[in-house]
Amino acid sequence: MASGHGIPRVSGAIHDHSQEAQDKVRKQIDQYQTVERDVVQRIRTNDFSNDTLQLTSVLLKQNPEYYTVWNHRRRIFLDVFEKEVSSKGAVLDSGPSPTDQKDAEAAEKAGLTVSQREIQLIVNEDLMFLLPLLKQFPKCYWIWNHRAWLLATVSKHLPVSNALEQWQNELGLVAKMLALDSRNFHGWGYRREVVTNLETLSGQSMAEQEFAYATKMIQANLSNFSAWHARSQLIPRLLSERNASSADRKKLFDEEFDLITRALYTDPYDQSLWFYHQYLMSTLDSSNKNSPEILKPCTNAERIEYLEQELDSVMEMLDGAEDCKYIYQALLEYTSRYLEIGSGKTKVTTIEMNEWLNALRKIDPLREGRWKDLEQKMNL
């Protein structure tokens, strides 16, 4: 079964059964279907005019999930772009006019050909059309999809410097969207896409800049899970681009532990903070094939040293937070790794492990099946 929401959260039911209300709905349906039929008919007969474009706007404002209409919109633009590139002139404008001379001058001033400038104007106008829609339907996949297509068009037809500027503006827009909803999946995904495009166009990495952005987002709200995730993704890249020595790597690793430990002491009940702690700890886990690399090389002695350090630190967090399940989970998880690689070390006793597990079972009975399996796995 394919995943996907996209079901309107509004009721379709007619609560008002009066003749008047029913007539009103009937009229709305007729209006919608008239525009819909008109668009379909026009596209079928290759009428890629400005009028057709306006009609798609009417439909999409009412129903941005209508993917076929987005396709029609792109068909109209492609037709215009093709004519522009083969310099037959735009069809969206009405015939030759005294503005031709002005257009040529404006294009020259912008360092573009007339057709490039025309494409830029069209794209910008459509990006503007999308803005209010994005605000109203921030989770509509097809709007983001269309935006990415418009920007890709810019990359394809315009000089690199113009394309860069356009994508740079886009980064500003995503920042605004994420400021409104810092967990928007499409927003973060789109941000990665924008950054990738900027990096490809400029040939320059943006890892440092993006790392700073993630830091800023975390400072604004410590429990921003998505921002911690973004940070975790950037660190390995950052280190390799900095050509970091093993000492540099260790320094950053220690700083990250400082940062997250301070945050955890403030709020050990915050799941997103534990996510980041687990991320750092996973870099010490050679059995996890998805764990990223921070320390390089990473010796067993170092693994044991960090595991001991963090076990101590997490144990201290228990003080005053004895009902915090994440602490016990972390203690058990890190201990099991510690015992695996630090054989012979007796920092943690079986009694302690049993205590942690019992506490966990009491606090978190929802996951009893998991704790039972864990008990067996750890031979408790």
Binding site: G4, I29, R183, R367
Partner: protein, 335 residues
Amino acid sequence: MSLAAGPGRGRVADGQLPDDLKLVVDKHVAYIKSLDTRRDELEYHLTEHLRVSGIYWGLTALHLLGQPDALPRAGVLDFVFSCLHENGGFGAAPGHDPHMLYTVSAVQILAMLNGFEELETKVPDGKMKIAKFISKLQQPDGTFAGDEWGETDTRFLYGAFNALSLLGLMPYQRPNDAPLIDVSAGTAHVKACQNFDGGFGLSPGAESHSGQVFTCLGILAIAGELDSHLGEEGKDRLGAWLSERQLESGGLNGRPEKLVDACYSWWVGSSMTMINRLHWLDQPRLTKFILECQDPDEGGIADRPGDMVDVFHTVFGIAGLSLMGYDGLLEVDPA
């Protein structure tokens, strides 16, 4: 099959005790059957871009409820065929452009209704035509685009594998013919979407999400690489992440710190079934949550108690119950 929400809301009937909650099977059947009669609502028309998927959801729910014939088979098949394009792809409704999502729904409906014979009569070599529409959407990096406009997504990759296996045209199902798609390039991409926490994201680098976990596990399962890729350690790690999706209400969320939603009963539950960790969820509590999302009077299931019901949450709520072996429901295939 209307995809508009409502009219009812998920709630517990007045005076009913939590332990007395029961799936109102007949009412859900009636609710789904009523969905096609709601053409007098604007939302019926505004959701046409989902129609064929809506029919698949409705049909699946009816199958699980033990009423597979509640919708007229011939009528459904006619509608599905009317969505088929020359290039082998299906749109969501007649006149809508072909897209992977709706092609997959159409193939799923044909498989469920044993309609492939009718397809071949109507369109000679129809199965192969559909398979070629799908295989042409595969990109050099193993991913699949949704349509000619090129956006890729692990949902489309899962859809491609799922539909081709239902058509019997996955490479392993016809070892003597040239493969239509590159399976290992696809699974390599899926593996690149996995995070250190054991979960999978929408693309490499994206945070883990239960919906993506489901599609990625489904892909690996169809390709026969699930056990070898994850191993017991990997299943423990992913199982732990998935089990944390259950909250006090008994319901499941899609990723950390998000609201619970009945449809995740399916995405999370089936994922946990695929890795043999379903017992890491509190199943009685989850069952209770799903039942609290149903409208006990008019049928249908909502995402959360108090919200309006719709066919999407109805099928995935019921599928979740079926995974947990709810009495009287047919067993569902987790992938």
